[in-house]
């Protein structure tokens, strides 16, 4: 018995799947286990991109920017200068006379809607177990998101103080 083992080629466990040597003695060494995220020819087309990683990164980057944009927006709209009392058509007209605040609101609209839509996508994926339910909820949410972003963008760009 002892001579059989000493004659065998001993290789590191990571080479066990090559069929040479005895490996570590762990039976699992005999199988090749692909790294979980390795892409192969059989990988479906829709999972060949880094969409989920980019979505994860977008949530963090947009989130940090939105903290500044939204807390500034809330401070100006709801706290300073009489709080909500002052808000009216004239106040909006005064603010959107400045390209700076137009740009602020446009960026806030796009980032907030996309950030919220991706968050809702994750919530729907987590709780809607039926394929068709998930599809419908995400379709509805996506349609509402596209509509709202386009409407808001149109309003900012076509605003007319003398309407």
């Amino acid at each position: 018995m002892s001579t059989e083992i000493s004659d065998a080629l001993v290789v590191p466990s990571k080479h066990a799947h090559t069929g040479k040597g005895l490996g570590t003695g762990n039976p699992a060494d005999a199988f090749v286990i692909e790294p979980p995220r390795k892409r192969t020819a059989k990988t479906p087309r829709r999972t060949r991109t880094n969409f989920e990683m980019l979505a994860w990164l977008f949530m963090r980057l947009s989130g940090v920017v939105l903290v500044v944009l939204i807390l500034g927006h809330l401070l100006i709209m709801l706290v300073l200068d009489g709080g909500v009392s002052k808000i009216g058509f004239a106040f909006v007209a005064g603010r959107w006379a400045s390209p700076f605040w137009q740009g602020w609101d446009l960026l806030m609209l796009w980032l907030a809607m996309l950030h919220g839509a991706n968050g809702m996508r994750q919530v729907i994926n987590d709780y809607a177990e039926k394929d068709s339910t998930r599809l419908w909820l995400k379709g509805l949410m996506g349609t509402a998101t596209v509509f709202t972003v386009l409407l808001g963008t149109l309003v900012i760009f076509t605003f007319d103080p003398n309407i």
């Binding site: 903290v67 709801l78 009489g82 968050g119 709202t148």
Partner: protein
């Protein structure tokens, strides 16, 4: 109730739950808010009429609630970024949550009069 509904409890899970709930609430408000603002393209009168509802005491209080949700989501979001990108983030996630709660309490107390001043003045005068 399906098994495993309660994850590991404590700070990690409950902050995640609160982040979801506040996020969904804020998203639904955002739809309403873009629609009400879009009324500036209809007429100054229709916009001002709808904005009047934002100045009633009940909706004014709801604005304070909206700020509560947004402040938590913003502060906890920064904590999530720290957990993901700061090497010691996961180790200090609990301490960071209690920091978030502390800053949230201070900001909520500090903005109480500012946000509700419209209602407070209409009820009690200057």
């Amino acid at each position: 109730m399906p098994a495993g509904t309660l994850y590991r409890g404590r700070e990690g899970m409950w902050s995640w739950v609160a982040h979801r709930v506040t996020g969904v609430l804020i998203f639904f408000f955002l739809f309403a808010h873009v629609l009400d603002t879009a009324l500036v393209r209809v007429s100054p009168e229709s916009y001002d009429t709808v904005i009047q509802t934002y100045k009633t005491p009940l909706v004014n209080l709801m604005e304070y609630g909206l700020v509560a949700a947004i402040l938590f989501h913003a502060l906890n979001g920064l904590r999530v970024v720290a957990v993901d990108f700061w090497s010691k983030g996961p180790k200090y996630q609990k301490q960071m949550l209690w920091t978030v709660v502390g800053v949230w309490v201070v900001l909520m107390a500090g903005s109480f009069y500012g946000i509700l001043q419209h209602t407070l003045i209409s009820w009690f005068g200057k």
